[in-house]
Point group: C2
Chain length 456, copies 2
């Protein structure tokens, strides 16, 4: 019986299935390819298209022209959508769009170029088209773009029975809805009741008597990362979106918020590492290069600052050449310390655990932690340096430089993102490059400066 349950579920997209599909494609065996791809969940079918090579993708789509429907299209990586949509017949595209709620259509539309946008808008019926165009009128990455226009709402005076009768009559309900939203006569949302409460209450219960405490509204211009924060912080499952006059314009559901949260994490992680834009496994080498080269070039110049600092001490290095060998230890350990402090700070800013209320205390904590870590490392490195080079003074210089640089690293790691945030920039944006430049320069400067003062 466990087997039966397993068979009921969608088959997994494992390496074996992928190679079986590719074999069927190569053999131009459409029925076999269909029998392997057909039962896949749309999300897995999209993953399949992302994981195979461009030429395999072309062959698969040629073999199974009816494969791509609206669900697969909305699961597909943005980088591939344009390519896949270009291969769809207009009628097929129209059919794919008809299945989707307006938020999914908007999500697909916003990354396409103008002619493709026009082609898709042309396939929608008038009401859907108006809904999509309204959403598209809000700024990119705003609540207005995330919301679906399909809303289940009721007047404030309705009872559970009236709401239930209404729901049974409506021809088309949204794919996802978790609340019935109450609106006043001017279409302003005033509360919501969960479907669970409605289902479990007697028919004559007034909806206004079973409203949820968690109710709040989101202005349509709210940035999407703030939307994701509200969903996470307040455990929302859906939330009405209002325009500047407080009128209801749509609803955001948790699946969209979860996607934004995931995208924000990706952005933070990649930006911190100096990768320009969201990059995808289906990107080619050229696209990959384009997201990375800019920060590499920036780093080439910031690394030249370190080179300049070192060049000022060439006399010292000529006198004691072993300094050249050990100096990167101080710089590199500083880089790790800075990266640690930075990752914690960027994450805490994203989850709003680091705020104006505790920034002072966190900076003091980083200072103490950098000092203590620096002292611990200084003892190890100082003893090690003394033993290897037989000079306690070199050990002392290494240890002192290590302490200085760990303090700089810990402070830089928290102050750089705090500074970027205060200036209205993304705290993750290239902070990694700034902080490692700082720890490199300070590492070489403190070590070679102290060496010049104490060893020559």
């Amino acid at each position: 019986m466990t087997d039966r349950a397993a068979q009921d579920e969608d088959p997994a997209l494992d390496a074996r299935r992928v190679s079986a599909i590719l074999e069927a494609v190569e053999a131009r065996d459409a029925p076999r390819a269909q029998s392997l791809v057909g039962p896949l969940h749309p999300a897995d079918a999209a993953d399949l298209l992302e994981q195979i090579s461009p030429s395999e993708r072309r062959d698969l789509l040629a073999l199974l022209p009816g494969l791509v429907d609206g669900d697969i299209l909305s699961e597909l990586d943005e980088a591939l959508r344009e390519e896949v949509i270009a291969n769809l017949a207009p009628a097929q595209l129209a059919e794919a769009m008809r299945e989707l709620d307006s938020d999914d259509v908007v999500d697909i539309l916003e990354d396409l170029d103008a002619p493709q946008q026009a082609a898709i808008l042309g396939t929608l019926d008038l009401a859907d088209r108006a809904a999509v165009e309204k959403s598209m009128s809000y700024p990119e990455h705003s609540a207005g773009r995330l919301m679906q226009r399909e809303v289940v709402m009721a007047p404030e005076h309705w009872s559970v029975g009236e709401a239930t009768d209404y729901l049974r009559e409506v021809a088309h309900l949204p794919d996802q809805f978790y609340h019935v939203l109450l609106v006043d006569p001017r279409m302003r949302p005033t509360g919501y009741a969960t479907l669970g409460r409605i289902l479990s209450s007697p028919r004559d219960t007034r909806l206004r008597d079973i409203l949820e405490d968690s109710f709040r509204t989101i202005p349509a211009t709210t940035p999407e990362e703030d939307v994701a924060y509200l969903f996470t912080q307040y455990h929302l499952i859906s939330c009405p979106v209002v325009d500047e006059t407080g009128r209801l314009v749509g609803v955001i559901t948790i699946d969209d918020a979860m996607e934004v949260l995931d995208d924000e994490h990706e952005e933070d992680m990649l930006r911190l590492a100096g990768v320009g834009e969201a990059s995808s496994m289906s990107d080619g080498a050229l696209a990959t290069m384009r997201t990375r080269l800019p920060w590499l070039i920036v780093n080439l110049f910031t690394a030249s600052i370190s080179a300049f600092v070192i060049s000022r001490f060439e006399g010292t290095i000529t006198a004691i050449v072993s300094l050249a060998a050990v100096m990167p230890i101080v710089a590199s350990t500083g880089g790790i310390g800075g990266t640690q402090s930075l990752a914690v700070a960027v994450r805490a800013l994203a989850t709003r655990d680091l705020t104006a209320a505790n920034a002072g205390r966190v900076v003091r904590r980083e200072l103490v932690s950098g000092l203590v870590n620096g002292l611990s490392l200084a003892v190890i490195l100082g003893i090690g340096g003394t033993l290897v080079y037989g000079q306690w003074k070199l050990g002392l210089v290494l240890g002192m430089a290590m302490i200085v640089n760990q303090i700089v690293a810990a402070l830089g790691g928290v102050l750089v993102p705090l500074g970027l945030e205060r200036w209205g920039l993304d705290p993750a944006l290239a902070s990694g490059t700034f902080v490692t430049t700082l720890t490199d320069v300070m590492g070489y400067l403190s070590f070679l400066g102290l060496a010049t003062a104490l060893l020559l």
Copy 2:
């Protein structure tokens, strides 16, 4: 009217409110403190406790002894829970626990020490206690720990009307439920219907005729990161959990999956940066130090490998001391390139976009992208080095070393996490340290090696 809506919502926890609360605490003005803290959403009240200092927290809890309820407790950072729970009277703790679903009680319980666990279990009534103990019998970080035992289920033959009547009669329904789950006579889940479909269907509709395609079950021993993946990949909103015989033991809801997803992201980001465990803004300097010092010490030793490599070329550096100044440029730019490739790979492994099916192609892509980036950087650095030092041969050595190191960086960034994953380790675990060690060593080795061969 927009104002009225705004007033209905929970007040924000901004810096002004935090300082007003701290002033009230200092003035021992309990009514004022209560009026400021009381209206906060439990999640914000928990954030408040996390953001103030330990002594301020003690004073606030002493001033408002009734402040902490079950909701605040389950929102609170793990690092603080033990401290806060120790300050609660047993009756208050019992009251706090009674409000919570079993998954929240388990979540609180699992991070406490044995006496506190026993104290909490003692406050639960027999049925709740059995539910919690059953969950605790599953491995840590498994589906069994995430699930709530409160499930809304119905026999397979029920109609919409029967289900609705049943829901109206049940005294206590879970806080969150989105489906009615169908079970066979042996308690094995066979499908579910959304509350939306149930509400909008006529009373005589059979539940089995309105089941969802998305239905699947999760074994209780499934690791929680796999649970989060299933929820994201298949847009689940809730999912039944079964034991090894396929019997229903609980349900996981999307809010728990979203929290796991968020925790996994945090772990990836921090591990990549060499921070040992999830660290929190309310940690003291000592706890902060403990999460960071281990990898700093590891890096101290790996950096010594670079120092050793450089020391082998002391003769070359003595001959041309300016090499010491420029050599970190090659190493540092390699570090950035490796970090970029690494961040993309770790993220793609987490989202399962990088699999056995496309690993070969991704590695080839990294190779090409590293080569092209290396060539671009080599041109800039080669020309720059030639101009600054008036030696085209030095420029050539810089450029060649850069190309070698960018290729090593791009490959290392993807092969290190792929290797860790193949050996069953977390791909994010300290990959940063491995990759930068690799790029440092290769950067110094290729540059100084080429310099020795071509410049001496």
